[in-house]
């Protein structure tokens, strides 16, 4: 019930706040949708290239091999082995992670355990290495000290907890 009304309610609430602030709500929405389209345009080429690679990896059996090798470790810590490729690529590339995660959801179904776990992993983690290089690079900070290990530990926690919460909640 709450989830049914979440998006419509949010849209209404934000529109009301905009109205109260005397903003041109409709123009903002349309401008934003246009921005979404240009953002999409910028990620489509990499999605095409990366999904080509992902499908080749799957057809060649490389994905199965990787999943098989990591399966014992994954099972021990309670992560579906099929999500292992997603975990490996997530901190490195956002579009590759979207390609791998989207592929998992399409292959196993968005409401399957694997599909849901992939969705939660994607939704609750970031492209760690990219973020660190952008932030520290722009500020010309040389020594990152313990930032990378701490961020990676947070990612690892995210992957584990994603699998556990999906396992318990669904």
């Amino acid at each position: 019930m709450i989830w049914d009304l979440l998006v419509p309610g949010l849209m209404l609430a934000v529109s009301c706040v905009g109205l109260a602030g005397r903003r041109d709500v409709y123009t903002s929405l349309v401008t934003g949708a246009g921005e979404g389209l240009s953002m999409l345009k910028s990620i489509v080429p990499s999605l095409v290239i990366l999904l080509t690679a992902v499908h080749m990896l799957r057809a060649s059996g490389a994905m199965d091999l990787l999943t098989g090798v990591l399966a014992p470790v994954c099972r021990r810590i309670g992560i579906p082995p099929e999500t292992a490729p997603l975990i490996l690529i997530r901190p490195i590339s956002g579009s590759a992670a979207l390609a791998v995660g989207g592929d998992l959801m399409a292959e196993y179904g968005p409401d399957s355990l694997i599909g849901r776990t992939a969705a939660v992993m994607l939704g609750s983690t970031e492209t760690t290495f990219y973020t660190i290089s952008v932030y520290f690079g722009a500020a010309h900070v040389k020594g990152t000290r313990y930032a990378i290990p701490a961020a990676l530990l947070a990612d690892l926690t995210g992957f584990l907890v994603a699998a556990w919460t999906v396992g318990t909640l669904f």
Binding site: W3, G18, A33, G36, L50, T52, A106, A139
Partner: protein, 190 residues
């Protein structure tokens, strides 16, 4: 990315040669390219809707309102930086943009905050507070993961947003562990 792409290709060709699945490989390449466009089309509508809503949130001043609410929490996490008005505003803006999922607004504000903190810290390697900021940004504290929900919706999920509680629990745990790890790192460095 060049390395990743080349590595992927090499791996798949090697594996196909070993397993004798070479015939499937070129078909899979074309199939994958098709899947890329399909994923993009799946995403397109919901992503545009969400970007529209995001722009409205920004225009309606929701980010500033949230930033004011968050300010007391951030004062505790970043006591040094918050003494400086410019750094505090960038920090609050960065966190609230992240929470609302306004990626376009979050990154410049985050960079601004790091630059200001770097200046206040007098250069050198990253300070403890800068590491903390990085951890908060890499651990994703987004309230509504719109892109993932868009993929789920496009693939026909019964309720695309029913993953939200799981996402919140997961994000909260990973941010907490990240901040604790940063704290341990800071203690160990001393």
């Amino acid at each position: 990315m060049t390395w990743i792409w080349t590595l992927f290709l090499l791996l798949s060709i090697l594996c196909a040669l070993c397993s004798g699945r070479t015939a499937a490989l070129s078909a899979a390449a074309l199939e994958g390219a098709k899947a890329g466009i399909q994923l993009a089309i799946t995403l397109a509508g919901p992503l545009c809707l969400w970007s529209g809503l995001n722009r409205l949130m920004a225009d309606a001043g929701l980010m500033e309102k949230l930033a004011r609410l968050l300010s007391p929490i951030l004062r505790r996490l970043f006591p040094d930086a918050c003494r400086d008005r410019q750094a505090r505003e960038a920090l609050c803006g960065n966190l609230s943009a992240n929470l609302l999922g306004l990626g376009n607004a979050a990154t410049p504000l985050g960079i601004q905050a790091v630059q200001r903190m770097h200046l206040l810290h007098g250069g050198g390697p990253a300070s403890d507070e800068m590491c903390r900021l990085i951890v908060m940004n890499t651990a994703s504290v987004q309230l509504i993961p719109a892109t993932v929900a868009a993929v789920r919706a496009g693939l026909g999920a019964a309720a695309p947003f029913d993953i939200l509680p799981a996402v919140w629990v997961t994000s909260l745990c990973s941010v907490t562990v990240g901040l604790l790890a940063a704290k341990a790192g800071a203690a160990w460095a001393q």
